[in-house]
């Protein structure tokens, strides 16, 4: 509330209170003086009204009763006595205090106020019915944003202008509420000689399509309700859709189509046909303006219905999933063929063909993107399932857990979402069962009794990250280690980092739960989860801190079927590197290699980048060219280079699975068919790095990677 206004009010109130007190003292001596009573009443009235406006609600509430009493005195319903004057003077003190020390009322203050109010109330009860002020009319919140078309007839009485009302302004207000068609009805305007310029003879028929509801329309006429005839009727409920003239063709159309009637003759006769409206006007049954009004209504509603029809049909269509899959497949094949077309065009080097091929490439890229996006659904629907799960499960186990979600609008491919559902359920069950402690345990650790599971999804590059974090007990590296040794997964003296220990929980048959609960702990869960994520070409990562919590991060590619890749060549073999992680390609000369003295490190713009020589990695014969290409990629926050003979260019590929035989070759995620029919292997860069690191470790004890 504006402070200057409050200050202004304070000043004014001081004056008023001063006047009030002197009036009261005078009134004591002259109880019948109507003027004095009026003054007291007015002062109270002003203090109350202005007090409320400037935020002094306690003053307003308190003064209400006093004002009422003096109103009754004014009307002769109450008489002034000594006690009333005392009460009122004390009231003035209170009001002064409330205004000067706003918001600082002590208990003693409130008691005093209550006492005064009680005293005043006695006068009110004695004097008659307590003042029932009409409750403030709160505007009813229009819940429906549904569109409705109303037929409004606004017929002002001739004396409308005498209240200073301008009907044009009212019509403008209606126009602001939606789509409006206004037809003025002027039939009652008398000729100039007999017209009274100060009277209103015009009335209006209005068609209004609005989403604000009937009450908003009534509000427009709130000041003139008594000065006009107002009719508001809905004419179109908001769901009816215009259907093309149902019923078969018209008589004339059929005759013309059959050749029995020449089209021009039909037109001519129709032209002579008189319209219903004309006929009615001629017959004196209806005024021309009323016809115009009705026609306007027809046109208005028809337009509204047509708009609605297009809008609704554009909303959504249900499609069987197989149709979509088939479409995606075909788009994939199209991508391959387009790639071959591009290659051919390049080889033939015909300008016209090249331009055409480029256009095809552009269109197919768009088609691919659109098709892929059709399959994308927000993950939110999956998330909402989990709320119920968390609630029921935590209740069962006597724990208090709340599930927070973030990024529900993140979209994933439909199949990915389906395949993720079970793994996510299991991970969450794990959090609830093993992760989050009982309320007592949590209290003992100084944690809030209610545990939190935070489920988040977000896009990053060509991947989706799904995080499941809990603020529970965290993983116990010691217990995991024990179990792993017990199960023979690691040797007793193996040195493993915490992170490596955590990853062991994904090994088949592993479970550290002391007792196997009905919920989980059977030891089949985590490895199934890992396999499911692997199948989706994703990765799982765990971080955990004892007593603080655990976070599991799933990284999944956005789409399974088609990826953008970089086509590279080593000798006559081609490979595809997924474009999403790739940063740049630079030359790597023999000199650069030698400079590094045997370590596979390159210096790129001052930064040392380790690299993998794919020729060596794949044990391909031959030395390779003097000048090779190093392709750098950002993987897991680290920059790594991959050395090839030549970088051919970008290449959209449809990922074809290599088949079961090659399932265990982690470094190759699939293959694709090139334009000339040859096969190129698609490399999994992170896996390549992992393998290379392991080889390094084994061969060079102090190896730098």
């Amino acid at each position: 509330m504006n402070d200057r206004h409050r200050e202004a009010f304070r000043e004014e109130a001081q004056e008023l209170l001063g006047e009030l007190e002197s009036s009261l003292l005078e009134l004591e001596g002259k109880p019948g003086d109507v003027d004095l009573v009026g003054r007291v009443f007015r002062a109270m009235h002003t203090i109350k009204g202005s007090g409320a406006m400037f935020g002094f609600d306690d003053v307003a509430a308190f003064t209400h009763d006093v004002e009422t009493i003096y109103d009754k005195v004014r009307n002769g319903e109450l008489t002034i006595d000594r006690r009333l004057i005392d009460l009122t003077l004390s009231a003035c003190d209170e009001i002064r205090r409330m205004i000067n020390h706003s918001g600082e009322s002590t208990a003693a203050d409130l008691d005093r106020v209550a006492g005064l109010v009680k005293g005043f109330r006695e006068y009110l009860q004695a004097g008659g019915k307590p003042d029932a002020s009409p409750p403030a009319v709160a505007p009813s919140a229009e819940a429906d944003a549904q569109s409705v078309t109303l037929r409004i007839r606004f017929k002002p009485l001739p004396g409308l202008f005498n209240t200073g009302t301008n009907p044009m302004l009212l019509l403008n207000e209606l126009r602001d509420l939606g789509t409006c068609t206004v037809v003025a009805q002027t039939e009652q305007i008398p000729p100039l000689e007999s017209m009274d310029p100060e009277s209103c003879y015009t009335w209006w028929d209005i068609l209004l399509t609005t989403e604000q509801g009937v009450n908003a329309v009534r509000d427009v006429f709130i000041f003139v309700e008594d000065d006009c005839e107002l009719k508001i009727e809905p004419v179109d409920s908001g769901t009816a859709i215009e259907v093309e003239d149902s019923g078969y063709k018209k008589l004339g159309e059929i005759l013309a189509e059959k050749g029995d009637l020449a089209p021009q003759a039909l037109q001519e006769v129709l032209g002579r046909q008189r319209k219903v409206g004309e006929l009615l006007v001629d017959a004196g049954l209806v005024t021309p303006e009323k016809v115009q009004s009705a026609l306007a209504e027809q046109a208005h509603v028809r337009e509204v219905r047509q708009k609605r029809a297009t809008a609704e049909s554009a909303a959504s269509i249900r499609v069987p999933a197989e149709k979509l899959d088939s479409l995606v497949n075909m788009v994939g094949e199209l991508v391959t063929v387009q790639s071959r077309l591009s290659q051919l065009a390049n080889r033939i080097n015909d300008l016209a063909l090249l331009q055409l091929s480029e256009e095809v490439e552009r269109l197919i890229a768009g088609l691919r993107d659109d098709t892929m996006s059709i399959r994308m659904l927000p993950i939110g629907t999956t998330f909402s399932r989990f709320q119920r799960l968390v609630r029921d499960l935590s209740g069962e186990l006597g724990k208090q857990i709340v599930l927070e979600t973030e990024g529900a609008e993140t979209e994933l491919d439909k199949t990915v979402i389906e395949k993720l559902s079970d793994p996510l359920v299991h991970l969450i069950r794990n959090c609830i069962d093993h992760g989050i402690e009982t309320p007592e345990k949590r209290r003992a650790q100084g944690k809030p009794e209610q545990g939190v599971i935070h489920l988040a999804a977000e896009h990053s590059g060509a991947n989706v990250f799904i995080r499941i974090a809990d603020d529970g007990a965290g993983l116990n590296p010691g217990a995991i280690r024990e179990k792993a040794v017990e199960r023979g997964l690691i040797s007793p003296d193996a040195a493993l980092s915490d992170k490596e220990l955590f990853n062991l929980i994904f090994a088949p048959g592993f479970s550290t739960a002391r007792t196997v609960t009905s919920v989980s702990g059977r030891g089949v869960g985590m490895d199934v989860v890992k396999r499911a994520i692997d199948a989706l070409q994703g990765t799982v990562d765990i971080t955990s801190e004892p007593n603080v919590g655990t976070t599991i991060t799933l990284k999944l590619p956005l789409t399974l079927a088609i990826i953008d890749g970089l086509l590279v060549r080593i000798d006559d073999q081609h490979f595809i590197l997924p474009l999403s992680s790739i940063e740049e390609c630079i030359e790597l000369t023999r000199a650069d290699v030698e400079r590094a003295h045997g370590k596979r490190l390159a210096t790129i713009r001052g930064e040392i980048v380790p690299y993998i020589r794919l020729r060596d990695e794949f044990r391909m014969p031959g030395k390779g060219p003097d000048i090779e290409q190093i392709v750098t990629a950002k993987l897991d926050g680290h920059r790594v280079g991959f050395v090839v003979d030549e970088v051919v260019g970008g290449h959209q590929t449809v990922i074809k699975s290599l088949g079961r035989a090659y399932r265990n070759v982690a470094e190759v995620s699939g293959a694709t068919i090139l334009g000339d029919g040859r096969v190129a292997l698609i490399l999994d860069l992170p896996k390549l790095v992992q393998t290379a690191e392991r080889t390094e470790k084994r061969s060079v004890p102090t190896g730098v990677v």
Binding site: E12, M53, F54, T163
Partner: protein, 121 residues
């Protein structure tokens, strides 16, 4: 040319708030402390709209409205009364005296502007 509105109220703080709000919205404002004062000031000046309190000394709001409507230059201008909740009958009286509309106290600045837009444009 901006429109001119006269605010009539015996409470200085209300007058100030109304004037401030209206000026902020681009209107020119004249002030008067009661009905008699208002008529006096209006004698020379033209005004496009009047906002008046009802309870005022010397000449109250209803009388002012009646007086204004009798003058040809003010017969058709919008006149809005400031009422309190408990004065439903006053609304009727005001309307028959020729008031265009009303605003219930306490009101927020936005409500004032909304009503001015409604009756004055």
């Amino acid at each position: 040319m901006s429109k001119t509105i006269m605010t009539v109220d015996d409470s200085a703080s209300v007058r100030q708030m109304v004037a401030f709000t209206l000026k902020d919205a681009g209107y020119a404002v004249l002030e008067a402390v009661d009905g008699k004062d208002a008529l006096g000031r209006l004698a020379g000046a033209g005004v496009d709209m009047v906002i008046t309190d009802l309870n005022m000394p010397n000449m109250d709001g209803i009388s002012l409205i009646r007086a204004l409507r009798e003058k040809p230059e003010f017969k058709f201008i919008p006149i809005v009364m400031l009422t309190t909740e408990s004065q439903a009958e006053k609304k009727m009286e005001g309307k028959s005296a020729g008031a265009t509309g009303w605003i219930v106290k306490p009101f927020k600045p936005e409500q004032l502007i909304a009503v001015v837009k409604k009756v004055l444009g």
